[in-house]
């Protein structure tokens, strides 16, 4: 039995929880426990749906092979998992969606950074060949490669830090969450060409996430500014 994937998942959860804990210390308006519950719910829903989508795409019937759903090592469809996780989040946090998503976005990016950094446990950091000084080779090979998962981890960590600092300045609701989605799409889009792949990568979806996130952030910001400029109505 192999537990390397479990270690990578634990790294992701540690990143998420650590970031939420840090944010809760600096921003008392956040209910860390609620955000933690929402994030874990979304992660579980996303994982299950992503696994089922991967099975269907691979030609395996989830109804005739229900045990396969637990075999996450066989593959999880990123797009299906992300959409399901976002839908679950929207449902769980529906009472105050924009504010809560703003609180969760930096921690979510930190969690994704942890997941990518977990490649060190899985011995799965390497991508396409490279001669750059920091590239390294698989054991038994002399072909040096991009440590692409560490690139992604670093980018997500930087983005999480930036969004955390932005969140502390209380921008209009929806801005931090929108930027978080945009950054996630851009980072995946930028690193995808460096990953060896057999299937068509979901690059169009990453681009759509980047555009949608950016548009949401811009719209939230614009809406807030328009609200501030609106003159008071006549006194009754």
């Amino acid at each position: 039995m192999e537990f390397t994937l479990l270690w990578a998942a634990l790294t992701g959860v540690a990143g998420l929880y650590g970031a939420l804990w840090l944010m809760g210390r600096r921003d008392t308006s956040l209910c860390v426990r609620d955000l933690w519950d929402a994030a874990i719910t979304a992660a579980v829903v996303g994982l299950a749906v992503g696994r089922i989508v991967a099975m269907v795409r691979g030609g395996v019937n989830p109804l005739t092979n229900p045990g396969d759903i637990l075999l996450v090592r066989a593959g999880v469809d990123t797009v299906g998992a992300t959409l399901a996780a976002l839908a679950a989040l929207a449902w769980v946090l529906r009472a105050d969606l924009a504010e809560q998503l703003d609180g969760l976005a930096p921690a979510a990016l930190a969690g994704i950074a942890g997941w990518h950094g977990g490649c060190l446990f899985r011995d799965a950091c390497l991508g396409t060949p490279s001669d750059l000084p920091w590239a390294w080779a698989q054991s038994g090979s002399d072909i040096t490669r991009h440590p692409v998962e560490l690139y992604a981890a670093l980018a997500f960590l930087l983005a999480a830090t930036g969004l955390f600092r932005l969140r502390l300045r209380y921008p209009p609701p929806g801005v931090v969450a929108g930027l978080g989605l945009a950054v996630a799409g851009v980072v995946r889009l930028a690193t995808e060409p460096l990953r060896p792949s057999l299937l068509d990568g979901p690059t169009a979806w990453y681009a759509a996430a980047a555009v949608l996130g950016g548009a949401t952030a811009a719209w939230s910001w614009q809406r807030s500014r328009a609200g501030q400029r609106r003159p008071d109505g006549p006194l009754q």
Binding site: N61, L63, L71, A74, G75, L126, T128, S197, L198, L199
Partner: protein
């Protein structure tokens, strides 16, 4: 509401009964001895991927579509060989037919002796050999897309 529930239950039951023992055009898998397997590996003129599987192995079912895709993409440059262990012919042939895996070579190892000569037990197992017959990587358990793509890239260079 009750009608919807009944319809859903029937659909689920129909789908669950959809599993087939149809072997299609898949012929009997040739048996292979440990010596023959070692000769096959040593005499390969191309990089070789050896996948050890069985029709009763649930994880093998999960990785089967990925191996089919890999064979479709790399079949010209890399030799794909399947080793069916501790299985029976009819289930093995139905498995190959179901996942459309008959496109590459498969051998039958009912006793598991040929697998034993590889020095590793359990299924699934995927071994990557360079064109000179030397073992590059032995992957235990279900293989994921990235790992398969990376190792194919390594042995193919």
């Amino acid at each position: 509401m009750r009608r919807v529930v009944i319809a859903v239950c029937l659909a689920v039951a129909a789908a669950a009964c959809g599993g087939s023992d149809d072997v299609g055009d898949v012929g009997l898998l040739p048996e292979i001895t440990p010596d023959e397997l070692q000769t096959l590996i040593a005499d390969t003129d191309r990089p070789l991927v050896l996948n050890v599987w069985a029709s009763w192995c649930i994880p093998c079912r999960s990785e089967a579509p990925l191996l089919r895709t890999a064979h479709e993409q790399f079949g010209d440059e890399v030799r794909f060989v399947g080793l069916d262990v501790r299985d029976n012919q009819s289930d093995a042939r139905a498995f190959l037919n179901e996942f459309d895996l008959a496109g590459f070579e498969h051998y039958f190892d009912q006793s598991g002796a040929a697998q034993g000569s590889l020095g590793a037990g359990g299924v699934p197992l995927t071994l990557f050999y360079r064109a000179d017959g030397s073992l590059f990587e032995l992957h235990f358990g279900v293989i994921d897309e990235r790992t398969l793509a990376l190792n194919l890239d390594e042995i193919g260079r």
